[in-house]
């Protein structure tokens, strides 16, 4: 395998590890070899030196006998022979044989050195006598050279050994450890959790630590894959669910919103936005959307406080819509936020669902109006009028006020119907109704009591009793003015009015009506076209008529 290629394209962390290891081992090997070779050098050196000195001693021993004899006999020639023989030896620089009397028998030709191996020469035949001394001067320089060479060789061997061990170790480590690690790292680098296809198992066929590591990684990946799949599944389901809810929420035709404890909108759907024409603000107070904001606000706060109430519904009018008043039916319900604990009862979120009921309200109103209204004159019809009268009466009595009730009967009406037709008659009635309505204010109740009868009631101001008849007469005058019945025809009618005042004349409505009727009847009898206030005397007198 091309070594250079194997180092290219690896992530730098691995490369550094390999180099670090290599450098460390190399340095250690170098250090070890240096120290050991130095140590070996010195020990080798001293060992060699001692060995050589020992050899020199042995050398002395070998010539001991002969040297003894030469000393014994003071034989210079023999001594010379011996010394010559000795100095010929590489290890020996110089040798000296001297007899007892310090007579030098033989001496080499070099200068004296300090270090010498000396041997006492004994009497050959009487071992207790010393006859002389043999001195050998080792060639220290030679010994040193030898020792050095030897030591140097040893050191060299050590260095070579260390280096070769280092190289072999490096190779072995590279083969057995770093190479598989690198291949593992490479295949692991390809694993990308976001691409499930890459998360396949890493190959391994080993049972050692690397194999275990790989097995561990595979197990982790399996677990991760499993978790990811589960998460994906969950997400899909959640998304599906969310889509459904979103559909409901977004597509609902009713406006849905969430209101927090400050009456601010937390969330709302498009329908809600459309209904309310929401302003462009971050915080919208929901109560401001409605006409009676204070009322809505108090409703909501009461609702929150009442722990038993879970929901309530109410029709509310919208605030300031350009195209007439809008009415909404609103359902407010408390919801518990499942995600967090509700700390106090006021800390609830209110969900509001509302839909437009403007039409219905309008129709209701119309219906009510229709039910209450005389279709022709737009005054109250009798039924509604009765109710109104009763209310007005009750109010006046409660407030200690007087109430005026006028019974108005039109004069000369029937001939118009006969003469000009019913359409003309209708026009007359309409006109009368209008004139009556114009005359009396909003405090009054104007009722079309019958075919050509009208009842008018209104509260009487203090001390305005005198004005009553005057008002009646003015009404009569107003009604007597000519009425255009169409086709450029004009006609004229009159009116007779009987007036009662509560509580003077009566305190119940029936009584009042009866007495008003009586008074009016009296007017009719007495020539019509007048307004007469009821009096006891007159009625009892004419009650028989």
């Amino acid at each position: 395998m091309n070594p250079s290629k194997s180092f290219i394209g690896l992530n730098s962390i691995y490369q550094r590890l390999h180099l670090k290891m290599g450098i460390t081992v190399a340095l250690c090997a170098l250090l070890v070899s240096l120290i050991s070779s130095l140590g070996s050098y010195y020990s080798s050196f001293s060992r060699e030196k001692n060995k050589n000195l020992l050899l020199v001693e042995q050398l002395a021993k070998t010539v001991e006998q002969t040297a003894s004899i030469s000393a014994y006999l003071s034989d210079s020639e023999l001594a010379d022979e011996i010394v010559d023989g000795l100095t010929g030896h590489d290890l020996v620089k110089n040798a000296k044989i001297e007899s007892n009397e310090n007579v030098v028998l033989a001496f080499g030709n070099s200068t004296v050195d300090d270090i010498s191996v000396s041997l006492d020469l004994l009497h050959p035949f009487a071992q207790d006598h010393i006859v002389g001394q043999l001195l050998i001067y080792p060639d220290i320089a030679f010994i040193h050279r030898q020792a050095k060479a030897e030591a140097y060789r040893d050191a060299q061997v050590l260095v070579i050994l260390s280096l070769s061990i280092f190289i072999i170790t490096m190779l072995m480590v590279h083969n057995m450890l770093t190479k598989p690690l690198r291949s593992l790292t490479k295949s692991f680098a390809q694993v990308d959790p976001e691409k499930p296809a890459t998360m396949k198992m890493l190959e391994h066929s080993r049972t050692d630590e690397i194999g275990q590591l790989v097995a561990g990684i595979n197990a982790l990946m399996t677990a991760l894959q499993f978790t990811l799949d589960k998460e994906k599944d969950l997400r899909k389901r959640t998304q599906a669910l969310e889509a459904k809810f979103r559909l409901i929420f977004e597509q609902a035709s009713a406006g849905i919103c969430l209101i927090n404890k400050y009456d601010h909108l937390m969330a709302y759907n498009p329908a809600f936005k459309q209904i309310h024409n929401l302003p462009d603000a971050n915080i919208i107070d929901v109560t401001e959307l409605f006409k009676d904001s204070a009322h809505v606000a108090s409703l909501l706060s009461t609702f929150r406080r009442e722990s038993l109430a879970q929901q309530f519904s109410i029709d509310l009018q919208l605030n300031g819509s350009k195209d007439g008043t809008k009415w909404l039916h609103c359902l407010f319900a408390k919801i518990k936020d499942q995600r967090k604990l509700v700390r106090d009862t006021e800390d609830v979120v209110i969900e509001a669902i509302m839909y437009d009921i403007t039409e219905r309200v309008q129709r209701e109103q119309e219906t009510r109006i229709a039910a209450e209204c005389d279709p022709l004159t737009n005054l109250n019809n009798r039924r509604a009028g009765n109710k109104r009268l009763a209310e007005l009466l009750q109010r006046c009595l409660l407030e200690d006020k007087s109430m005026v009730l006028m019974m108005v009967d039109l004069d000369k009406f029937k001939p118009i119907n006969d003469t000009y037709g019913h359409d003309a008659g209708d026009r007359v009635l309409i006109e009368c109704g209008q004139r009556i309505a114009n005359k009396f204010g909003k405090d009054s109740v104007c009722i079309r009591w019958g075919g050509d009868e009208f009842v008018i009631a209104y509260p009487l101001k203090q001390g305005a009793l005198d004005t009553v008849v005057t008002i009646g007469e003015s009404l009569i005058a107003s009604l007597s003015e000519s009425i255009d019945v169409g086709d450029e025809m004009l006609c004229q009618i009159g009116a007779s009015i009987g007036v009662v005042i509560a509580p003077q004349h009566a305190t119940t409505l029936d009584e009042l009506l009866a007495k008003a009727d009586q008074a009016m009847y009296l007017v009719k009898q007495q020539g019509r076209g007048k307004c007469s206030l009821y009096s006891e005397v007159d009625s009892t007198a004419d009650s028989l008529n």
Partner: protein, 139 residues
């Protein structure tokens, strides 16, 4: 007188001791009366060529009577003849020292000792006569 007295004393003593004792003898006129073992060794092994008093000495070996010779050297230096011979062989070419003159017979030896003033020889004790003076005795 003193010499006669000593030699007769020695003679007497030799009579008391064992019969195969060896003695070292000199010419009877030799002023030397006694020698120590070391001195005997030194002379016979060639170290000295004079008596302690300075007179020249001439040692003699018994050449033919090898038994005596062997005994002598055995008792003197505790070495066998082969070693003694090799000793002298070593010195043959290099040393000044030379071995004692070898005499073939006891009779000749005695004659030589009588003739030579500085003679020094060894004999079995029994063979000693008046022409020689014993200066040392070996057991």
């Amino acid at each position: 007188m003193k010499g006669i007295f000593l030699s007769s004393l020695l003679f007497l003593l030799s009579g008391i001791c064992q019969a195969d004792a060896l003695v070292v003898v000199v010419n009877k006129d030799n002023p030397v009366d006694a020698l120590s073992k070391t001195q005997v060794i030194d002379i016979f092994m060639g170290r000295y060529i004079t008596f302690p008093d300075g007179n020249p000495v001439k040692p003699f070996d018994l050449g033919a009577e090898l038994d005596v010779k062997r005994k002598f050297y055995q008792r003197l230096v505790n070495k066998d003849l082969a070693k003694i011979n090799s000793y002298w062989a070593r010195l043959l070419f290099s040393g000044r020292a030379s071995p004692p003159e070898s005499v073939d017979s006891m009779k000749l030896l005695l004659a030589r000792v009588s003739d030579t003033k500085g003679a020094l020889a060894y004999l079995p004790e029994a063979s000693v006569d008046e022409s020689v003076k014993v200066v040392y005795r070996l057991e």
